[in-house]
């Protein structure tokens, strides 16, 4: 993590062989992970131990073994102090339908210790920041799912925490609402200076939003690294060109031309428009120029040239597969 935030540039969350065992299930199994400031994604299938981890981090459920610190405070002894500085947005519905968003969030602000006047001011500010305007005076019962999610987010932010835990914030949202929520989560860090731990079982949406991704499965740590590590170890370029009278098969012509210049090109098989798309590994800035020049020399039109980022879901295959297999998987494009 290179990003420096208003939080001191320290570890925001640290766990050390943290375990949580229930009589029949082991929810967390010797989990050791450090999370820095910024937006961190906590990824795992349902039942992977995400919610259990959040409960322990809020100081609400004691760990069976190991220790954890949030903002430098021990969860076992400083629960109340942690909860004063941390916001929490639950996964499930948690809003009473017969009060207005304003009233509800003011009440929650006071429950976090804000004096009455400050609670009102912060509520108005926060609801505006999450994108609720006139409707905030109406009872919550009449809100859409997207608006309810915003109220839930607002109550987690109203006391200006240093860190928020967002449990599945995009659950139940349509694609537009999902994008808006992800944008909002990004802003929580960049504009508000608040670090974020966001859980999801959808890996794809986190790569756009998070600086860092922690993957857990069955209570065990699968992987913890920055999003750029996940997706940009190498860049794959996808190229599509037009055909001309001179070169009836433009794609083939480009492939041969590039081959002559020493670039290995893959005929993006298995992709939509296979046969018309060329994939090649970019070795840096020169590759882009090379492609441009090659296409121009042949007199073809360049329809597109885009980065294919590797999908985060590969983490699940890389855990078990060897590195070589992984490279192969990457080479074939995602």
């Amino acid at each position: 993590m290179v990003r420096v935030t208003t939080v001191y540039d320290v570890t925001v969350i640290a766990t050390e062989s943290l375990s949580k065992r229930f009589p029949r299930v082991t929810a967390l199994d010797r989990l050791s992970v450090d999370v820095g400031p910024g937006v961190t994604g906590l990824v795992g299938a349902n039942g992977a131990g995400k919610s259990t981890l959040i409960k322990i981090l809020l100081g609400l459920s004691p760990a069976t073994e190991g220790r954890a610190e949030v903002l430098g405070l021990d969860v076992a002894t400083k629960g109340a102090a942690i909860r004063e500085r941390v916001g929490y947005m639950p996964e499930h519905d948690c809003l009473p339908p017969d009060v207005s968003a304003t009233e509800f969030v003011v009440h929650m602000a006071r429950m976090s210790g804000l004096p009455p006047t400050a609670a009102r001011e912060r509520t108005a500010d926060t609801l505006r920041h999450v994108g609720l305007y006139e409707e905030r005076y109406r009872p919550i019962g009449g809100y859409s799912t997207g608006m309810k999610q915003r109220v839930k987010l607002a109550q987690a932010l109203v006391h200006d925490p240093q860190l928020v835990f967002l449990d599945e914030p995009t659950n139940g949202l349509d694609p537009v609402g999902r994008d808006e929520m992800l944008g909002l989560i990004r802003r929580i860090h960049t504009d508000f200076g608040i670090s974020v731990l966001v859980t999801s079982h959808l890996l794809g949406e986190l790569e756009r939003t998070c600086d860092h991704v922690v993957v857990i499965d069955g209570g065990k740590l699968l992987r913890s690294s920055s999003t750029t590590d996940f997706t940009q170890t190498t860049t794959t370029l996808a190229i599509e060109v037009t055909d001309t009278d001179e070169h009836p098969d433009g794609t083939r012509a480009v492939r041969e031309a590039l081959h002559a210049r020493g670039v290995t090109v893959d005929a993006g098989s298995g992709l939509p428009g296979a046969g018309h798309v060329l994939l090649l590994t970019a070795q840096g800035e020169e590759t882009y120029d090379l492609v441009r020049d090659t296409v121009a020399d042949l007199g073809l039109g360049l329809v597109r040239m885009e980065q294919r980022r590797h999908h985060i879901s590969e983490v699940f295959t890389t855990d078990t597969d060897t590195d070589e297999q992984r490279k192969e998987a990457v080479g074939h494009g995602s």
Binding site: T6, S51, I54, K55, L58, L60, S61, A80, A81, R83, E84, V86, G87, Y88, P90, H92, D93, C94, L95, P96, P97, D98, V99, E103, H107, M108, R110, M111, S112, G113, L114, P115, A118, R120, E121, R122, A124, D125, R128, H129, P139, Q155, H159, D160, D191, F192, G193
Partner: protein, 302 residues
């Protein structure tokens, strides 16, 4: 909440709106005890529908009026007829109006706790500095205070009326004070029972029905048994039977120690010795209600 200020600009410059963006909060954070007080006042207001929809104000306000109107009528009669005493003792008033009190606790206890369970708001409370005990205490204190307002207000009407009717000051003050102690105990007991029952179910309807059932069935059973005991001339057992319903429990306590006339069949209240048992049972029940609520919420968590 002035966030976007149109800034007064020098002449010639274009007027701009500056969005000053997110503002951090550096003010005081008042912590647990403040949060507990906030929850208390919010719950107390909620028990009379304040801060909630118009619909939810109707029933508690109506019951409050129903509680006070008979007291006002009694006072009017006492003043008009220049009576030497009020038609009803202070301690007796709550016993007479027990149906209204039961209805109030049955409607407001679920309102206070079942809603938080049903809409899963409880985790939001516990993700904040307060602990289980703070939540339980705030909710218990709020409902008990609401019940005290409901039961003490008519006594105040009676007292003020009695003074206006120029009844004996010392007598009336003593009676009023005894009445207040009695309704305070009643409020604690009824609020505790109501909350324990309501906290079991997230469904408000079930909560209301269960509270009414417990209060009326226990009272019905106890008074029937007492009547049978009186017919069979075993008046000694009347007092002991009275331990088994909340309202007769209060009746027993106040007959033994607060100078009240018992509403038991035959007007025979418990003796002082039996009265001690009554007080112990009443206090034990209140403590048990608190303990059960704590246990209930320890499990709720997130």
């Amino acid at each position: 909440m002035a966030v976007e200020h149109p800034v007064a600009s020098p002449p010639g410059d274009q007027t701009r709106i500056h969005n000053i963006g997110y503002r951090t909060y550096d003010g005081p954070r008042l912590g647990r005890s403040y949060a507990r007080r906030s929850l208390y006042s919010q719950s107390l207001r909620g028990a009379y529908g304040l801060g909630r929809s118009v619909k939810s104000k109707v029933l508690p306000m109506l019951l409050f009026v129903v509680m006070c109107v008979p007291a006002a009528i009694m006072v009017a009669v006492a003043v008009a007829t220049k009576a030497n005493d009020l038609p009803v003792e202070y301690t007796r008033y709550a016993i007479i109006m027990q149906a209204v009190i039961s209805l109030y606790v049955a409607s407001q206890a679920p309102q206070s706790v079942s809603r938080d369970l049903r809409f899963k708001t409880v985790p939001l409370y516990f993700s904040r500095p307060i602990e289980t005990a703070d939540y339980v205490r705030a909710k218990y204190a709020a409902l008990a205070s609401a019940m005290f307002i409901l039961t003490a207000a008519p006594l105040l009407v009676l007292y003020v009326g009695a003074l206006l009717a120029k009844l004996d000051f010392a007598d009336q003050t003593k009676g009023f004070a005894q009445g207040l102690v009695s309704v305070a105990l009643l409020s604690l007991l009824f609020a505790g029972l109501g909350l324990v029952i309501a906290a079991v179910t997230p469904r408000r309807g079930f909560g209301i029905a269960a509270v009414i059932a417990v209060l009326t069935i226990s009272y019905g059973a106890v008074s029937t048994l007492q009547a049978i005991a009186e017919v069979q001339n075993s008046s000694g057992s009347i007092a002991w039977i009275g331990l088994f319903s909340p309202i007769t429990l209060i009746d027993g306590v106040q007959s033994a120690f607060l100078g009240a006339t018992s509403a038991f069949p035959g007007g025979v209240g418990p003796t002082n010795g039996e009265g001690v048992v009554y007080v112990l049972v009443a206090l034990g029940l209140i403590a048990a209600c608190y303990g059960l609520l704590m246990r209930r919420y320890r499990k709720v968590g997130l």
